[in-house]
Amino acid sequence: MDTKLFKELGLEDIHGKIQAGERISVEEGERLFACPNVLAVGSLAHLVRRRMHGDAAYYVVNQHINYSNVCVNGCRFCAFGRKKGDSLAFELNVDDILNKVKARTDDPITEVHIVGGCHPDLPFSFYEEALRRIKTLRPGLRIKAFTAVEIAHFAKLEGISTREVLTRLKAAGLDMLPGGGAEVFSTRIRALLCPEKLSGQGWLDVAREAHEMGIKTNATMLYGHLETERERIEHLDALRRLQDETGGLVCFIPLPFQPANTQIKDAQPTTGVEDLKTMAVSRLMLDNVPHIKAYWVMLTVKLAQVALYFGADDFDGTVIEEKIGHMAGAESEQALTRRELERIIREGGFRPVERDCFFNAVKRG
């Protein structure tokens, strides 16, 4: 894309800053959202992505386990959570979780991703035991488990501090926290959509605490419901400030809201151009977060491949047994094989690199 185009679009100054590797402001982020030419915004994000990662596109061979969908929060955007006693409610016991891990011991999985609802009465020892037994069963497996929201919930239920929760989970085998539950940090939006959930500040506090203890985390943003573009940018800015302080964020994951089966009836699904623009602006705002993920479960595989040109460098994983997105009507496949993932990345024009949860390249014999 030539300088002339950015001039025509009134983005000459932002183009200059990006080329020089300088940080863009919240207002500049808003101007990028307002730009009608998604290719221009995408090409800026691609410039940054190329500078950071060259032609590498990462993926992970992982397993998702949802231990329970029973949840006290009742967030309006969620199609997964159920009240206790609901006919569709489920909860796994520790043996069930172990059996799921055992069932895949022959697969070259490097990461298990474990999240669930905020369960009203499972004791904290349940989570500790699950982690401990997984680590014993498969010591090489990295456990990425429990969003900041779950961590705060465990603390409340157990009557201990979040630091204590993190300390005990780390001792039990926790390697990393996933980025879920961040939604958008805006107080206005949380009051409308998830008033029972941990606040935006609370989420950031748990993440900061984890980082201070040497526990890396990811971060997400659920967009495309009732939030404004300004609120998206403010969310990104809050993460950028946290990252300046701690450096503990590994990967940012923008998640398009899937309205089917949720309580937000009139909402329309996001369109492809909006998904790509959000991806690109995320890359450009989060200059200090190493990785941006195109989560194909939510985006569709086809759009996720295109997103590798719009700032994303990670294609997520092979994802066995994903439930949360699919219960909200996500139309993507349930699982992708490693071969298929590599083919899609290569045909997109990138070099597939298998990674672990910390984005270390995985060497296979």
């Binding site: 894309m1 185009l5 009608p36 030419n37 998604v38 290719l39 995408g42 090409s43 691609h46 032609d55 329309q268 369109t271 492809g272 151009v273 909006e274 998904d275 790509l276 985006l299 569709t300 086809k302 759009l303 491949q305 295109v306 590798l308 040109y309 139309e331 298929e340 083919r343 899609i344 290569r346 045909e347 997109g348 024009g349 990138f350 070099r351």
Partner: protein
């Protein structure tokens, strides 16, 4: 033609060169690309440069930020087919179970439903039925035209060639008789890849490339408009795709009868061709190259049916100016296991969200009166 670019296809991210940059600039201004130049940009140009050039050319041809769509239905009058193309998941051989020929009653029902939904045309195609005479198709057209004010876009060139052989008359005569019976325009289906070596491998019993082009030339000569398609991503090489585009461009130079070009990706589910489906990035690159090479085509269509609505929306920045059809009914791609559904309202919302004005059109790409439109 230089073959070197084939090695670049889908292997490493292309960064573009001074030369491809110059070619893109030239093509964006509507200047003609040679096949070597087309091969250079297809193989080497960077993703954004290609999209931007295709979009610039699209805006030169259609300066208004309008994206059109048509409300229609695919009606497959029969799935019985003697061709047995390896890429097809829809057909049944004549002696196979599950074959059908649509009854008049079912046909009428489908058309009434289409009109009720604000539809203006039907796209009617079927297999190469071994015994139905030309009079069957003439009567079907008359049956429709006597009853319904609807545009009939029907019988792809391979069907017309098949009718001619079965009836023992020439293609010109078949088109004349079908026109007299009510045929309004001919769809560009069955083009697959217009290179005989590829056709021999994937659809050996179907009409040749020159027969396909011959039907279109004859139809244009008789004053009928047609579309053109390309089904890619099966057993062809990238250079065959470019040969296909050049064959269309050459015919269009002579007749000007094509209204639109519609490339779509082969869907391998339930077919006899074992390969993975074409990816979105490959689709967008080819779409952009199509827009730039087909400098004498007004309209290029995005394919949400095969690529999904999200990628089809981005295709509006890669050279496409038309969102295709609402496809009240679609059977052929669905038979390969791909199911996307979109309402008129959803199509309009997607077009608007991409920054364009949606406008319902006819087959000839003229506007449909707003008062006629059902926005449900």
């Amino acid at each position: 033609m230089r073959k070197s670019f084939i090695h670049h296809e889908g292997r490493e991210e292309r960064e573009g060169t001074m030369e491809t940059g110059r070619l893109l600039e030239k093509a964006a201004l509507g200047e003609r690309l040679s096949i070597d130049e087309a091969a250079d940009i297809y193989g080497q140009a960077d993703f954004f440069g290609l999209g931007q050039a295709a979009h610039s050319l699209r805006l030169r041809k259609h300066p208004d930020p309008v994206v059109t769509y048509v409300v229609d239905r695919n009606i497959n009058y029969s799935n019985i087919c003697v061709c047995g193309c390896r890429f097809c998941a829809f057909f049944r051989a004549p002696d196979q179970e599950g074959g059908y020929v649509l009854s008049r009653e079912d046909l009428a029902g489908k058309i009434e439903e289409t009109l009720g939904l604000g539809g203006t045309q039907i796209l009617m195609q079927g297999g190469h039925h071994p015994t139905l005479p030309l009079s069957f198709y003439e009567e079907m057209l008359r049956f429709i035209k006597d009853r319904y004010p609807i545009h009939i876009h029907a019988f792809s060139p391979p069907e017309i060639v098949h009718f001619a052989k079965l009836e023992g008359v020439d293609v010109g005569k078949v088109i004349e008789r079908l026109r007299a019976a009510g045929l309004d325009s001919i769809p560009g289906g069955g083009a697959e890849i217009l290179v005989d070596s590829v056709r021999k491998a994937v659809s050996p019993n179907k009409c040749s490339a020159s027969e396909w082009l011959g039907v279109m030339e004859e139809a244009h000569r008789q004053g009928m408009r047609t579309t053109a398609t390309m089904m890619f991503g099966h057993e062809e090489e990238p250079c065959h795709r470019l040969e296909h585009l050049l064959a269309l461009r050459e015919l269009q130079d002579r007749t000007g009868g094509f209204t639109a070009f519609i490339p779509w990706a082969f869907q391998p589910g339930n077919t006899s061709i074992r390969r993975s489906p074409e990816t979105a990035v490959s689709y967008l690159r080819l779409l952009a190259v199509s827009r730039l090479v087909l400098d004498n085509f007004d309209n290029v269509q995005a394919s949400w049916v095969t690529m999904g609505p999200k990628v089809a929306q981005l295709a509006l920045q890669f050279g496409a100016n038309d969102f295709g059809s609402t496809m009240i009914e679609e059977n052929v791609v669905a038979a390969a296991g791909v199911h996307f559904r979109l309402s008129v309202r959803e199509i309009r919302r997607i077009i608007e969200a991409a920054g364009f004005k949606p406008r319902q059109r006819t087959m000839a790409y003229g506007p449909v009166e707003e008062s006629d439109r059902d926005q449900s």
